[in-house]
């Protein structure tokens, strides 16, 4: 990790050795740009980059590249997300060129939730390439200066390549190997799935550190504060690959009426404190789902403000 690969703010923060703090924002289900700006506005100055989700949970929204450009105009660095569900390798590569040309420097490569979960379950999925191959595609374009077919690009897009890792999906033994494979394929940074089972995550990170993965890649721990017991139950039961221990649900239940959200934030803050000290963790990715206005408070209490200027 000697030279800057993209020059993005996120890359510079990580490279300088700061504990990174990234946020997330879902584009609107329509063209309500003002609402998007308002949500993103809460994150400005509190995070190093903001993930812009790509038709997350297979629900149609404003395209992630378009919403990313709106953030750029607002002076907020986006982390453009791209899923393999909706594009073939031609669209993928042309979108990569397009987003770079407009100033986007971070890109998170994902497979994408199956369309069954979304609001167009009748759609045909693409999955021409998978997330591993998408990472490889961006790296090939950036470092080899070629398209997937080997043909030269006139000027390569210098992107900071991100990937996701779910330490809780199964088979558990293979997850760290798949993380290693993503790093080998070209991931510069990793943002994990929301973490609730700390014990399992510690075990996962120990394996990752033992394999030296943290030296090859920046690993950001995923945090989503629980807003309610209903949300915790929904996450536990209905969100693929989520591991919410009963002990956490009980803790939230014990918080008493009107205090569940506060307890959810308290748990998130405890997590962030532990991640600051955890070997191999380079930062936190805070996914405050439709709770962007709470991010300044969480960032303040987590002691991650002000964000470094690099």
């Amino acid at each position: 990790m000697s030279e800057l690969k993209s020059g993005s703010n996120l890359e510079k923060v990580l490279k300088a050795g700061h504990f990174a703090f990234t946020g997330e924002c879902g584009p609107p289900q329509g063209v309500n740009v003002e609402h998007l700006k308002e949500k993103a506005g809460y994150l400005k100055g509190c995070v190093d980059a903001v993930n812009i989700t790509d038709n997350q949970t297979a629900v149609v929204r404003m395209s992630s590249w378009a919403a990313s450009l709106i953030l750029l105009q607002e002076g907020i660095e986006p982390n453009f997300q791209m899923v393999c569900r909706d594009r073939n390798r031609l669209a993928i590569q042309s979108d990569i060129l397009g987003i770079y040309a407009h100033g986007i420097r971070n890109m998170l490569c994902l497979s994408g939730d199956h369309q069954k979960f979304g609001n167009h379950p009748d759609a045909k999925n693409v999955f021409d390439i998978d997330s591993m191959q998408l990472i490889h595609t961006v790296k090939t374009m950036r470092d080899n200066g070629t398209f997937l077919n080997g043909q030269d690009l006139d000027m390569p897009p210098r992107l900071f390549i991100g990937a996701a890792s779910n330490p809780f999906a199964e088979p558990f033994e293979f997850r760290v190997h798949r993380l290693a494979k993503k790093i080998m394929a070209g991931a510069d940074f990793i943002q994990t799935q929301c973490i609730y089972n700390m014990e399992r995550f510690r075990e996962f990170m120990k394996k990752a550190v033992d394999m030296g993965l943290d030296e090859k890649c920046y690993i950001l721990a995923g945090v989503t504060p629980m807003k309610s017991i209903g949300m915790a139950r929904y996450m536990a039961k209905s969100v693929p690959g989520m591991d919410v221990p009963d002990s956490l649900i009980k803790r939230l239940q014990g918080a008493g009426k009107g205090k569940v959200a506060e307890e959810g934030i308290k748990f998130a803050l405890e997590q962030i404190e532990e991640f600051k000290e955890m070997k191999g963790i380079a930062g936190v990715h805070l996914m405050a789902i439709e709770w962007e206005h709470k991010v300044p408070e969480i960032a303040e209490k987590a002691g991650v403000l002000p964000r470094p200027s690099v």
Partner: protein
């Protein structure tokens, strides 16, 4: 084999509502094996249609016939002398059957009785499962003899995705995560290192994506 399911009776009744005399043609190939379109199923459908139409006060005359195969001109030829005597013909073969029939007999009307679903086999009596996507370039040897193209909901070649849970796929607890099976088989045989290798993007040119396909065996062409 090709697996198929019979269409609902209501849909079939709607197809033949304007006709008075029809022929139902079964196939002794795959659809006989998967109990969807053999002579037995032809008989069942013929009775069901006749009873339903009799109830409606608009009786239907139904003849039955089952060919060796509907995907072979030699057998399709066998009905040449009778085909003209019907208002319509229902094929109980896979999607290939009614097409071969209508190519051979352009003046007749053909209807499909089955929904052709997948390439697979019976995992137990009465239950068939998909195994092959017919992508034209078999890769199962990389995955312990298991096909992620046909059996992973996302056709991932570098799986499993983050939705794999307790051996099940994220789309349903009824669906096995095939990547869970692949990983466990690799571990069992001490071949996990093979899964750490990056599988590059697949060429889909040999699959349906490459356009309609044809298989030419020069030595057999007359």
């Amino acid at each position: 084999m090709i697996v198929a399911d019979r269409k609902p009776l209501k849909e079939l009744l709607e197809m033949v509502k304007d006709f008075n005399k029809i022929l139902i043609i079964g196939c002794k190939g795959c659809v006989t094996v998967c109990n969807a379109g053999g002579s037995k199923e032809v008989g069942v459908l013929a009775s069901a249609l006749k009873i339903a139409r009799k109830k409606e006060g608009h009786p239907l005359k139904v003849d039955e016939k089952t060919l060796e195969r509907q995907c072979d001109p030699e057998y399709v030829d066998q009905i040449k002398d009778t085909v003209d005597g019907y208002d319509a013909i229902i094929s109980m073969a896979c999607g290939v059957g009614p097409q071969f029939l209508s190519e051979r007999y352009p003046d007749s009307r053909f209807f499909p009785a089955l929904n052709t679903t997948f390439f697979g086999g019976a995992v137990q009596h009465g239950i068939w499962e998909e195994r092959c996507a017919g992508c034209g370039t078999c890769v199962i040897h990389y995955f312990e003899g298991v096909c992620p193209i046909a059996r992973c909901s996302k056709s991932l070649q570098n799986g499993p995705c983050g939705g794999s849970n307790e051996g099940k796929c994220e789309i349903s607890k009824e669906v096995d995560c095939i990547w869970d099976i692949i990983v466990r088989k690799k571990m069992e045989h001490d071949r996990l290192d093979e899964l750490l290798e990056f599988r590059p993007p697949k060429s889909w040119t040999t699959a349906r994506d490459g356009g309609p396909r044809q298989s030419i065996r020069e030595e057999l062409v007359i």
